[in-house]
């Protein structure tokens, strides 16, 4: 706890508008409220992707941008404590495997093929399930998997770009 306080004091004293070290106190206060709203908005767009415009891709990019806001306002070290590089890459892989798993489940049923919408065709069919949140079979599950994958990937690449410390052209560290 004291380490974190010391860390934040040095972040505050370092500079005003340098991208890696964090920003002024107005930006920090506002962004600590706004990033939670952005995260919630991203989850809403992913979950209701089969009823309103949006879907997995747009929601995943919004999730990534809430973490990028955290990184820009507070500096790279705080964002790495929140979601570090190995954890982000594992979340990426989990999203891709979940998408492939939903697709493979279609093969378990008799004459079906890869990517068969088994929930809508066999189990929850009927018109009383239309226009609700629980409808359209495997489409919400695929949306969640794609959103997780795209969000984790894009945050991973922005974090890798900002971890990269520039060396001088002769190969020595600065």
């Amino acid at each position: 706890m004291e380490q974190k306080q010391q860390n934040s004091k040095t972040i505050q004293n370092e500079g005003t508008s340098n991208g890696v070290k964090g920003m002024t106190i107005i930006v920090k206060t506002i962004s600590s409220w706004v990033k939670v709203l952005i995260f919630l908005f991203g989850i809403y767009i992913i979950l209701f992707g089969h009823l309103t415009p949006g879907g997995g891709f747009a929601g995943g990019v919004i999730l990534a941008s809430s973490y990028v806001l955290l990184m820009l306002a507070f500096g790279r070290e705080l964002a790495e404590e929140n979601l570090s590089l190995p954890v982000a890459s594992k979340l990426d892989c989990v999203g891709a495997l979940l998408f492939a798993g939903v697709a493979l489940c279609g093969l378990l049923f008799g004459t079906a093929s890869f990517f068969w919408n088994f929930i809508h065709q066999k189990y929850l069919t009927g018109t009383e399930y239309e226009f609700n949140l629980v409808s359209a079979g495997t489409i919400p599950l695929s949306n969640i998997a794609i959103g997780l994958k795209v969000g984790a990937s894009l945050f991973l690449v922005v974090l890798a770009l900002s971890i990269f410390r520039p060396d001088t052209p002769n190969g020595q560290k600065e």
């Binding site: 891709f57 018109t127 226009f131 894009l154 690449v157």
Partner: protein, 122 residues
């Protein structure tokens, strides 16, 4: 005439990617070409006075599952939109790859100029 303006945007991006010497300018030229192609594909599917392809409760007969005929004849084409949606996210991934190559080359050679990179040896 609108298709011609879109093609002009594509040619501006091609000119920038071929003629300029700065590496980041070449990346910007490729990005402008991708925007132009996405815009052209969506413009191909537009219907005058159309509506977005999202079904409302009033347009569907809940008993039989039939879509109302005026929605069928007045909605825009959903197929190009589905193809462009993935293309936009892929362009972000390839932009990240190109910029990481540019940053690595800058660290090794000290400049963004591509004619200088040919003349330095290691």
């Amino acid at each position: 005439m609108l298709y011609a303006l879109c093609f002009l945007l594509f040619m501006i991006g091609l000119y920038c990617a071929v003629v300029k010497k700065n590496m980041v300018k070449i990346v910007i030229g490729i990005l402008v070409m991708e925007y132009a192609v996405n815009l052209f594909l969506i413009m191909l599917g537009y219907r005058s006075g159309g509506v977005a392809p999202i079904v409302d409760k009033s347009q569907m007969d809940l008993g039989t599952g039939q879509i109302a005929a005026d929605f069928l004849s007045s909605s825009v084409d959903p197929l190009p939109q589905a193809l462009v949606l993935t293309a936009i996210v892929i362009s972000l991934g390839s932009l990240a790859l190109m910029i990481s190559l540019c940053i690595r080359t800058y660290e090794k050679y000290g400049t963004f100029d591509i004619t200088q990179i040919r003349r330095l040896k290691g």
